[in-house]
Every structure is written in C-alpha cells, then in structure tokens.
Symmetry: C2
Subunit: 193 residues, 2 copies
C-alpha cells in the first residue's frame, strides 16, 4: 500500500523498492546480500584452504600407517592390520581423504562456475552433516588408538607410526571442526534467511 503510493510519486519501480527492502533486513544481512560477490570469497577461500589442509593431513595420517604394510621385507611380522583400532583409524583417514578431495574439487569448481556439481541447498545440508560426522569419526578413531598405543611394545616401528598417525589424525579433526563451523554458518544462513 505504501509502496504503491510512493512508487508512482517518486518515479521508482515499486517492485524494485520492495525487493530491495526485502533483501536488506538489517545492516548485517545488508552486507551479505548486496555485496554478495565481495563478501563470498573470504569464507569461500578459507573453506578451500581448510579442505586442502584436511586432504593433506588425512593423506599423511593414512600413509604413515600404510607405509608399514606387510609387503616390506624388513617388517614382515607386524602390521597395523593386526590391530582393529588402527584399521579403524586407517579407514577413517581414507574416508576423510576422499571426502576432503571431493569438497576441494567442489570448492574449486564453484569458484569457476557456481553450483556446477550439485545445488547449493543440498550441498549446504550435506556438507554440514558430513562435516559433523567426519569430525566425530576422527576424534573417535584418534581416541580409540591411544589406549592401544599405551599398551604396545614401545620400541617398534608400528608404535612410532601409530603415534604420528594419531597426532595427525587429531590435527585433521581440528581442521574439520573448523570446516563444520563454516558449513554450519552457510547452512543456518540458508535456513533462516
């Protein structure tokens, strides 16, 4: 009612005015809405960097265990596959690696062309849920490895490899939990607004 009166008088399209008002609810969301492209890159870039770190760390974590595979002639008897806890660590690291590489690929694709892989809405929901899940899996596998490391023979190669793997796995968890905050921010922004 107000808009239609004013639009005709002021010579400004009422539709444009009302849509502008709808897009700019507060100073906060104004900066998000109208300067979308200048605001998006920092979070987007931070996300890509975090995904890259998660990719590298999870790869190193899995590699430090797999490097002691039974194929090596020098260590034929002992392997991480003998311990189900280390197998769990290894599988979680591999899953994190696959997930991080997918997210990194998607992040790089999105900078080139927005939403090329899957729609933004599905992406936000799945990212948040999978980030939470991967974070819980990582902290769970790291924690589960600690008592096994404590009760192992403390001089073996596997002992050192397990400590390195668990430590890096914990660092990966910290990176993924930061990713969770970012993807949570993106998701809840979508739900609310």
């Amino acid at each position: 009612m107000v808009d239609s009166t004013c639009g005709a008088m002021a010579g400004v399209s009422p539709l444009a005015a009302s849509s502008l008002a709808q897009q700019t609810p507060s100073p906060f969301s104004f900066s998000v809405a109208s300067t979308r492209w200048s605001f998006r890159p920092p979070i987007h870039l931070a996300n890509i960097f975090l995904r890259f770190f998660a990719l590298v760390f999870s790869f190193v974590s899995a590699l430090s265990l797999a490097d002691l595979s039974p194929n090596k002639k020098s260590q034929p008897s002992i392997s991480f596959t003998d311990y189900p806890e280390f197998m769990y660590c290894f599988i979680v690291s591999i899953l994190t690696f696959i997930y991080s590489s997918f997210q990194l690929f998607k992040g790089i694709c999105d900078t080139a062309h927005r939403g090329i892989l899957i729609s933004d809405m599905i992406s936000d929901y799945s990212s948040f849920i999978l980030d939470q899940l991967v974070g819980y899996l990582l902290i769970s596998s790291s924690s589960m490895a600690i008592p096994v490391i404590q009760h192992m023979k403390q001089t073996g190669t596997l002992w050192r490899a397990a400590i390195i793997s668990t430590t890096i796995s914990f660092v990966t968890f910290l990176v993924i939990s930061t990713c969770t905050l970012l993807s949570g921010y993106k998701l809840f922004k979508r739900i609310i607004w």
Copy 2:
C-alpha cells in the same frame, strides 16, 4: 530517498515503514520476528527436554562406574580408578552432568523470565561452543573405553559396569549432538540477522 518521498505523500511515518521493512526481510524470518513468542516455545521446550535427558544419562553413566567404588566390601581389589580411561569417562560424565544441569536450570529460568542469568548473546555463543566441546569429549571418552573393555577380564563386575557406562555415555553424546544443532541454529540466527 524513496522512503522519505513516499512517507510524506502516503501519510505513514517513514521510520515505521522502514523499520517494518527491516524487520520483515522474507517470509521465513517474518515468522520468526513477528510471532516470536508463538515460535520460540517448541525449540525452547525441545531444548529443555534434551537437556533433561542429557542430565539423566550422564548421571547414570557416572553412577554405574562410581557404584563400584573401593568402599564396597565385596569388591575391594578392583575399581574403575585403576584404569585412566575409565577415570576419563567418569570425569567427562560428571562434567556433562554439571553442564546439563546448568543448561536445564537456565532453560527453566528463561521460560519464567527471559535472560535472567546471562545475556542471550553470551548464552548462545557459549552454548554452541560448549555443546561442541562436550560432544567431542563424550565421543572421545566412549571410544577410548572400548579397547580397554575388550582387553579386560570379561566376567568382572567392572566389565559389566564399564559396558553400561560406555553405552549410556554414547547415548548422551547423541543427545548432546542434537543440542548442538539447536544451539547452532540459535547462534547463527543471531550472527546473521
């Protein structure tokens, strides 16, 4: 510019019109903003119920371990304090119990009088961060207890108590992770809007 022209013509206060427009950015946030009191209770009530469940479960989890204290004449030799992993479980359960009771108390106080304890903003930030932290601690302590349970004598009273405690601790983790989603929703709603 548009508002000042239109306000004078339409006889409606420009301040009122613009503030109305600022408060109603979209159909979604309109329902949150204008019907705040009719919208708040479901989430608020769900939060109180979840906090209550977390309180009960964490108490039972701690109790099932503490029930085997060395004071009992029948089990003088074995205690959960001999295992650092179970001590960790116990401490995390106690912390979860204290945190849940505080959150439950705050939730009940808030229904009577809003923001009586601490300001809403500090509450939202601290709730989300502490929920995440407690969730990670719970999954970590549950996971750490599993290898110890596997390597224990499988007939003792402590073995049964540890299994009960770990299972309930995992259920508490599920409840707390749901709380994290709710407090994340509340926090990001505040940040964005």
